[in-house]
């Protein structure tokens, strides 16, 4: 999967889980940038992402993420 495809899919997931009107994720986007993205919805996002890409992350991988860019890298790794 290409990176921009991953970003597209993530945008959809974010809009769906966080109940947003629109979403434009970049590498630097983090929880500080989106009001609805808190620790609770973070978990819901992860579950949705795992389901959508049919992958499973380890706790350590999840804890390491600091922004969407790192998230995308992890997804890329898993899809290889």
């Amino acid at each position: 999967m290409e990176k921009n495809e991953i970003f597209e899919k993530l945008n959809e997931i974010f809009i769906d889980v966080l109940d947003l009107d629109e979403c434009n994720l970049t590498d630097e986007t983090s929880a500080n940038d989106i009001e609805e993205w808190d620790s609770l919805s973070h978990i819901q996002l992860i579950v949705a992402i795992e389901k959508a890409f049919k992958i499973k992350f380890t706790s350590l991988e999840i804890m390491k993420w600091n922004n969407v860019g790192e998230m995308v890298n992890s997804i890329e790794e898993k899809l290889k």
Binding site: L40, I43, V47, M63, K64
Partner: protein, 481 residues
């Protein structure tokens, strides 16, 4: 050395003068001086524990470097080392804080297995501050493992972070990523920092001496002798105890943060006007924040991640466990566990009804309405007070006894003129300030734009402290009650 004692200020003067005069150009010098001062301070409180503090600091310093190396070469080993660090930290805490309790509580269980336990062999003296510095150490190894920070390559910096004297005894609990980088530059004598630090110290002193220590006499006279008092007295004492707990701990935190600020170091905040919370969930985001964020980051989130496949029930379990751990951290007693469970239950209910509540609030645009906000604040305060009754009780039976006594025998309460004459006006001042600060009208008194008002505010607060404060550490004339 308590932070509101004369001897502490003498110590602080002796420490800060060389810090800003002799070492001002040398960051290493300042750090080393701080380290020595911190060890002196800790030794003054408990010199027998200095070896322990030193050894454990060295061990974790080494662990940090090893974990970083293995993060790249051998991730599995890195995980093991991190686990070792966490187990060591938790183990120390368990040994000193909880082992005696466990042995005592399960003595009959041990007996039934034929293991005779002699309680005297478990008269373990808890090193002061252990609940705080072990948490700093544990967060250090975890953050290194998560590659959120680079481990420290300067032992003096690391050791100063662990032993930093304003916060070692009672927090706030700092994170390595926020604190250690500040030690890599020399700190200059900065007017804004010193002025703001001084303001925080004066305000913290006021909270502690004029309110907390004032209320202490009354609340302990009643709650330590609750069998001799009626329900009204117990209720009033419990409500005042909530205020006492808040002003005591936040007063101390303000002083610790203020002292650090004068030294040019930023320390985590601990309180954010918790009694203006509209529900218990918000309360825990505003009360003892350095502890609750620690437990959220290192226990709640990992648990939540682990339970993510169980949907909302996984989250509820994580919330409940989270609060029980927060409760149990406070000490080795079932009352602390019950306290945690009580809040855990409330928070689960709040989480479960979150969506419905949000809808309801939006529908009637309740969020800004006074008739919605203030009753919720009051309700939260009552719920917190009930939790603190559980928290304060010496054991479970006392806890249930006190709660039972609140259900009957309401008559004229026990009053003490000094407590109410001096306590109530200051509590009202505190409430006024909290509401003003919450609504960001932070332009009066201590933070006024006009210098004379700022100076006058400090002057008047100090007068209140010396004239109306309880300078005997909260002792009360009715001690025999």
């Amino acid at each position: 050395m308590v932070v509101n004692s004369v001897i502490f200020w003498l110590f602080f003067a002796v420490v800060s003068i060389p810090y800003f005069v002799f070492f001002r150009k040398s960051c290493r010098g300042q750090n080393l001086w701080l380290l020595l001062a911190s060890y002196f301070f800790y030794g003054w409180a408990d010199w027998k524990m200095i070896p322990l503090l030193t050894i454990i600091t060295v061990v974790f310093y080494w662990l940090g470097l090893q974990i970083e190396k293995n993060n790249v070469d051998n991730p599995k080993r890195a995980s093991h080392l991190t686990t070792l660090g966490v187990v060591l930290g938790v183990g120390l805490l368990f040994y000193f804080k909880y082992l005696g309790f466990f042995v005592q509580e399960f003595a009959h269980l041990f007996d039934s297995f034929g293991l005779k336990t002699n309680l005297s062999t478990f008269s373990i003296i808890m090193p002061i501050g252990i609940s705080f510095f072990t948490f700093k150490l544990i967060s250090y190894v975890i953050e290194t493992h998560r590659q959120n920070i680079q481990p420290s390559r300067d032992f003096v910096q690391f050791a100063t972070f662990i032993a930093f004297f304003p916060t070692i005894l009672s927090g706030p609990i700092d994170r390595p990523g926020e604190f250690i980088p500040q030690l890599s530059q020399s700190r200059k004598f900065n007017y804004d920092n010193v002025a703001e630090g001084a303001r925080r110290i004066v305000w913290g002193l006021f909270l502690k001496v004029c309110i907390a220590d004032r209320l202490f006499g009354y609340t302990s006279a009643i709650l330590d002798n609750y069998t001799h008092h009626n329900a009204t007295s117990i209720l009033i004492a419990s409500l005042l105890y909530s205020i006492e707990m808040y002003t005591d701990f936040s007063g101390y935190s303000e002083m610790a943060i203020g002292v650090s600020q004068i030294l040019g170091l930023k320390v985590r905040e601990n309180f954010h006007r918790p009694f203006l919370s509209q529900n218990c969930s918000e309360y825990w985001r505003r009360w003892h924040m350095s502890l609750t964020t620690w437990i959220t980051d290192y226990i709640y989130m990992p648990l939540n991640v682990r339970f993510r496949d169980y949907g909302q029930y996984g989250m509820y379990l994580a919330i409940f466990i989270n609060l029980v751990v927060i409760g149990a951290w406070h000490g080795a007693n079932w009352t602390f566990v019950l306290f945690g469970a009580y809040h855990g239950l409330i928070l689960v209910i709040i989480a479960a009804t979150e969506k419905r509540r949000r809808k309801f609030e939006k529908k009637y645009s309740l969020k800004k309405k006074a008739y919605y906000k203030y009753p919720r604040m009051l309700l939260t305060f009552f719920l917190v007070t009930l939790g603190l009754i559980i928290f304060r009780a010496n054991n479970l039976s006392e806890c249930f006894d006190i709660i039972h006594r609140l259900t009957y025998n309401y008559s004229f309460p026990f009053t003490n003129k000094t407590t109410f004459v001096f306590g109530l006006p200051f509590i009202l001042l505190l409430i006024f300030k909290e509401f003003k600060d919450e609504n960001k009208y932070n332009i009066h008194f201590l933070h006024s734009k006009r210098l004379p008002i700022r100076l006058m505010s400090i002057f008047l607060l100090l007068i209140c402290v010396f004239l109306c404060g309880n300078l005997d550490g909260g002792q009360f004339i009715y001690f025999q009650f």
